[in-house]
Structure formats: C-alpha cells, structure tokens
C-alpha cells in the first residue's frame, strides 16, 4: 500500500448541478488498484451522485473523471454503456437491480455479454452452432460457476434471481458485476439490509475481490463497522462537499467528520 502507486481512478473537481440544486460540489479524490476506497457521509451527501457520474448515468456539470487502464479513459466523455464495455467500470445499485425473471446463471452470462457477443460472431457463429462459439460459452459458464462457488449459490443456479433471499441477491449482484471482469468496481451500499452474519461474509467477499482479483473498489457504505474494518482509504462527503479524506482510523477522529455525523442536527450514523 505505497502511496506512490499510480491511482486507478482520479476524480477531479467533480460538480453536479440539478437545476438550482448542487448535489456534488467540487469533489476530488482518487482510488488505487488493489484497494478499497470508501465514500461515506450522511444521507443526501451526494455519494450516489458521484457513482452515477463515474458510471455514466449522469453527465457531470464540471470536472474530470480519469480512469487508467491500458490507456487513459476520460469517463465524463463516454456514454453509459461504453464505460462498462471499454473502461471496464462495473457497479451495483442501492436498490438491487437484478434481472428477476432470469435465472442466477443467466444473470451472470448477461454480464459477459460483450465477450460472448464477439465469440458468437455477432450471433452468426452462434446461429450456425460453430464450435468457436460453443467453447466460448462453456468458458463463460465455467467462469460464472467459479463466481457462484465464491458466493455460495451453485445450487441455486437455475432458480429465477427474483426468488432468491435478499442477502443472496446482494451477493449475486456483486458477482454479476465481477463477471464483467472490471478494473474498478463501484458498490452502492452492499451491506444495507444484511444481518451481522451476512455482513461478515460480505466483508470476506470484498477483501477477496481486492486481494485475489486485484481490482480497485469504490464503496459507499453506511455501516461503519464494514467501512472501518475493510477500507484502505476513506473519503467523507457532506452536503456535496468533501470534508475529510485519509485512512479510516484518522478519519474517525476528524472533528469535521464527527460534526457532520453527530453535529448540530441530530443525524446519527445509520446502521
């Protein structure tokens, strides 16, 4: 964890305005590969808006979003789906967004769409049933199976995703994002609604994603126990502005952070 390591994503002077409302105001931070960067802050601090800018759902009013891969991507200039396809940024959503009628396995195969689309020769090879496509499909299934093992859902593979219990849906959504083979994974409150045991499992999963898959993780989380135990770096937002940044232990003691959470208006720490 040397700070000299080049950042994976650099957010520079990000500002997002909706009409008169400034949701994110001149926020800059960076996230490194093989590290979990947590973004915390009270409700309405603009955390999800930052995610939506990074993943292309919103076009930032001002600011630069630089992602380093084999080349440099300027995310603010890319369309929503191109960010997933070329810059390889994957995300999950606050309110889980699986494909509920499709099975668990199908969800993971859809995540490998672009790879499989190429292998199927834009469907032509696939329609003809050529071996080149069949091999690619088998490989994709094997990849999905690995992930199902990691999240403990192999037995459920052929069940519609919408029928899974809540905690399993959360894990599946993370696995689906990982099946796109991302460089950067953005998780929007992955621990929300989980019980303590599931939450602990989630911690293990996130640590294994950081250490085994070696990608950068951006994490929005309200559950401070999760944030403090697994993140390498914490960014604190309040009313759209960055009020603190640093290693978890330092941030925890920061008076500005304490004020934002416990300050004059009684906004308590969620979870």
């Amino acid at each position: 964890m040397t700070l000299a390591e080049a950042p994976l994503i650099e957010v520079e002077h990000l500002t997002m305005r909706f009409g008169g409302l400034i949701a994110v105001d001149d926020v800059s931070f960076s996230g490194r590969p093989c590290a979990i960067t947590a973004i915390i802050g009270p409700n309405g601090a603009g955390k999800t808006t930052v995610f939506n800018c990074i993943t292309g759902f919103y076009k930032p009013t001002i600011g630069r979003l630089r992602l380093r891969g084999e080349r440099e991507y300027l995310l603010e200039r890319m369309l929503g789906h191109e960010i997933g396809q070329h810059a390889r940024v994957a995300r999950t959503f606050q309110n889980i967004r699986l494909f509920p009628a499709m099975t668990v396995l199908e969800n993971l195969l859809v995540a490998q769409h672009n790879k499989l689309m190429l292998a199927s020769g834009m469907s032509v090879f696939g329609l003809l049933g050529l071996p080149v496509y069949r091999q690619a499909e088998q490989a994709a299934i094997a990849f999905a199976r690995d992930w199902l093992e990691r999240i403990g859902l192999v037995a459920m593979a052929d069940r519609p995703a919408g029928e899974l219990p809540y905690g399993a849906q959360r894990r599946l959504e993370i696995a689906r994002a990982m099946c796109t083979e991302p460089r950067l994974l953005c998780l929007d409150e992955p621990a929300a609604g989980l019980n303590p045991r599931e939450s602990a499992e989630l911690n293990q999963l996130l640590l294994s994603i950081r250490d085994r898959d070696g990608i950068g993780v951006l994490l929005i989380e309200h559950d401070m126990s999760v944030v403090m135990s697994i993140s390498n770096h914490v960014v604190v937002l309040d009313y759209g502005r960055k009020i603190a940044e640093g290693p978890p232990a330092e941030v925890q003691r920061d008076p500005a952070v304490i004020r934002a959470y416990l300050g004059t208006d009684d906004e308590a720490i969620d979870g």
Binding site: H86, F93, E106, V110, H113, S123, L127, I141, A157
Partner: protein, 474 residues
C-alpha cells in the same frame, strides 16, 4: 356472521348495478337509428336489454362477493341459474343477452370453483406423476402440436374450410411469434407492427406484378426490406421510454398506411393491387391451365387437378415459414443477444451498467421482428392475390398484440394457443364475429389484471447449470 355481511354485499352489488346503469343509460338505452334523410335520426329504446343486463350485473357482483367470502356453493348455484337462464329458450330481448347471461353465469361458476381447482392442480403437480406430466407437457406439447399441424391436411377434417382457417391461424401464429421477439423477449411495446407486414406485402405485390419476380425470389428481399424499415424507424426512437416508444410505433404504423393510401402512382391507393401471382412449386403454378412456357403442379406431379392442391400447398408454406420463425427465435434466445433482449426487458439500467449497448440490442430485436412480419406480408399478398391498405390498419396490430399478450409474453406455445382462441373461435362461431373485437379488448384488460404473464406463464431458462433430472436441478 354471514347474515351480517349480506346487507353489505347487497349494497355493493346494488352500487355496481347503479354505476353500470349510469354507464349504459344513454349509450345502450337510447339506440339511435337512421331514418333516411340527412338530419334524420330517431330512437329505438333498448331499456329492456339494459334492464336484463343490469340484473345480471347485480347478481354477478353478488355472486363474486359470495365467492370471495368463501360461500362457494351459493355462488355456484347463482352461476348455474344464470347459465341455465342464458341457454334456455326463455325469450330475452336479444341474442347477445343470451350470451351475456350464460357467459356471466359460467364465469361466476369458474370463479367460485377456482380455489378448489387451484388446490387440486397444486396438489396434483406436487405428486411424482404430476411432475412427470408437467415435464412431458413442457417438453412434448410443442411436438404434439407440430404433429397435428403437419398431419391435418391429410386427415378427413382437412376440408377446404378447415384449411382456409388453418392458413389464417398460422399466419397469425407467425406474426405472433415475430412480434413476440419484440414485445415478449425485448419488452418493446410495438403498436405499429402491421407496418412491416404491409411493407412485405407491398414489396411482393409490386415486384411480382411490375417486374415479374416470383414468390421465392421476393421472399428474402421482402424480409430484408421490412428489416431495413425496422432499422430506419427504430434507430431514432428506440432510446425512448417504453410508453413513448409504443405511441411512436403507432404513429409510424399509421404514417406508412397513410402513405400507401395516398401514394396512388406507386400503390394505386385505396383501389389496391390485384392479380398477384401465387407461390410456385419448383416453378410450377397452381392452376387448371398453365400460362405460356410454364407447367401446372398437377401436370408436373401427374395427378388430376383439384382446387384444394393450392390451398394445401399454401398451408404447408405458411407452416414452414412459421416454423422457421419459431426455430430462429428459440435459437436466438439461447445466444448472448437473446439473453440481452430479456435482460433489457427486465432492467435497462442494469444492462447499461453491464456495458450492454441498449440501442443496438433493441435494434436487432426490432429488425428481426420486422423481417418476419415482412415474410408473413409477402405470403399474405401471394395468398390473397389482392391487397389494399384496408388490410393494414391499427386493428391488425392490436390483434397481433392481443395474441402475444394473451399467450404469455415470451411463450411460443402460448402464442399458438392464443392464435387458435382469438382467430379460430370467432371463425367457428360466426354469429359471435361482431363481438370479437369487444372480446379482444376485454380479454387484454382481464389478462393484465388477473394473469399478467399470460395463459402460459412458464419460462424455460435459456440455459441450465444443472440439467433436469440431475441432482440439484429444479
């Protein structure tokens, strides 16, 4: 307990009847009739009809409340009485009312007995035999239907009337399967599907009558033309939200129809295009005598001519076309693009986050759906030998949509069932023909309210990690 609830139920039924009375008093009660001159309209009072209908509505509502309260037997008794009254020779003011009363009674009985039937089905399905039947049903129903369809012309029931109807139903099955790609799989509500049908039909009509091209040469062309139209129209609008897309496609459908209607130089407008040649078999024509330089199918096969041959041939052509549509769709569903269609239907935002290009994916569904409509259109023109803009109105799109919706969006067998029900039944019961569209409309509402996944709600996964029968499968 029940005695206390009865006045409430009666009041509820009375209120329902009152609302129905308010709905019907002018529109039904005062039937306007022409009396010749320009300004001349007079009334025919239909209050007796209205009265009977209101009594039925009152009793029906009461019966439904009873059934909902768990009083199934009284509800069933009420239903049976209505059913008998409907089919009895009792003289009601109109034939329609007989149907209305009888159907109302039948529906009431079904509703009251529904929980039992549901229980029985659930209990039956849980037994090993039940599971076996279920699996056989899922796996073999399609093959059984196919066998029936293939053998039908060879059986004695395959007379001219049945064959005509068979061709008609199969045309709608094919259109339903085509639209199912767009609506059922990709979740794009296309209200202008008939436009592509029209493009296919006019392509063949014009190319054959003006340039002398044959059916089999034009068929792929017509499909490609229709698909190009699909891409052309789809590209700018497929980014729109679902309901806007529906209206825009409706607009496109009407624009194409109006252009056909008014571009008289090309399409001869409302007069239509006639003497379109039918499809040939290896270059042989279906006719009593062949035109110069050609031979008839009867001569080629060395059998006596019969007018039925052409019909049976048409039947197999459309059966083949429909099967191609089905096989193609089934195959596409198991490919990445097919899974992406379904994923888009489920959640477009999540698709974008996974790096799937929504516009391109939708465009393929739209274009492929259009292509099959184009094929079907060519066939339609070759079968009818005459086409005019009247065959391509919004109602046609609505019928195809009703078939897809009723069958269960995404279900291939469901489309067949729905096509037989919606196209076949009204043809068999001619007297009901004028109520057909009314029934379509009501059926669409009822399906959405009570069974939004359609008659066949089962969705077979496009791929399984654990094949059926293997341990851990399910």
């Amino acid at each position: 307990m029940v005695g206390a609830r009865l006045p409430l139920m009666l009041k509820d039924a009375a209120l329902t009847a009152l609302v129905a009375a308010a709905l019907g008093v002018f529109i039904v009660g005062f039937h306007t009739v022409d009396i010749g001159s320009r300004t001349g309209l007079s009334f025919d009072f239909w209050f007796a009809d209205l009265g009977v209908a209101l009594v039925v509505i009152f009793l029906g509502r009461l019966g439904l409340s009873l059934a909902a309260e768990g009083l199934r037997w009284p509800a069933i008794a009420l239903g049976v009485v209505m059913l008998i009254a409907g089919i009895s020779p009792l003289r009601l003011p109109s034939g329609f009312l007989h149907w209305f009363v009888a159907l109302g009674g039948a529906l009431l009985v079904v509703r009251a007995a529904w929980p039992w039937a549901n229980q029985a089905i659930a209990a039956g399905a849980a037994t090993p035999t039940g599971r076996l039947i279920d699996r056989i049903g899922n796996q073999w129903a399609g093959w059984f239907l196919l066998a029936v369809a293939v053998l039908l012309p060879l059986t004695p029931i395959g007379d001219q009337k049945t064959m005509d109807l068979g061709v008609l139903i199969l045309t709608y099955v094919m259109l339903g399967w085509g639209l199912n790609i767009v609506v059922g799989l990709a979740g794009l509500l296309d209200l202008g599907y008939v436009a592509f049908y029209a493009v296919g039909a006019y392509s063949y009509a014009l190319l054959s009558t003006q340039h002398g091209l044959g059916f089999w040469a034009v068929l792929p062309l017509a499909g490609m033309l229709a698909a190009s139209f699909g891409i052309l129209l789809g590209f700018p609008v497929l980014r729109l939200r679902g309901d806007y897309l529906a209206i825009v496609t409706l607009g496109f459908g009407e624009i194409i129809r109006l252009v056909i209607l008014n571009w008289v130089d090309l399409t001869s407008g409302p007069a239509g295009i006639g003497s379109i040649p039918g499809p040939t078999l290896f270059g042989a024509v279906f006719a009593e005598t062949a035109p110069e330089g050609k031979q008839t199918v009867a001569e080629m096969l060395g059998v006596p001519f019969s007018s039925n041959q052409r019909l049976i041939f048409l039947y197999y052509v459309i059966l083949g076309l429909a099967l191609v549509t089905n096989l193609f769709t089934q195959r596409m569903r198991r490919l990445p693009v097919g899974r992406a269609w379904e994923a888009l239907r489920e959640d477009e935002t999540a698709c974008k986050a996974l790096g799937i290009n929504p516009t391109n994916t939708k465009l393929t569904a739209f274009a492929i759906g259009a292509m099959f409509a184009g094929f079907a259109g060519s066939f339609f023109a070759a079968k009818q030998r005459f086409i005019s803009p009247e065959s391509f109105t919004f109602i046609e799109s609505a019928i195809i949509l009703a078939i897809v919706v009723l069958g269960g969006m995404g279900s291939q067998i469901g489309v067949v069932l729905a096509a037989v029900l919606l196209i076949g039944l009204p043809e068999w019961f001619r007297e009901l023909g004028s109520y057909r569209m009314l029934a379509f409309g009501l059926a669409m509402v009822l399906i959405m309210v009570f069974r939004p996944r359609g008659l066949i709600a089962h969705r077979e996964p496009s791929i399984r990690l654990h094949p059926i029968g293997a341990k851990g499968g399910g």
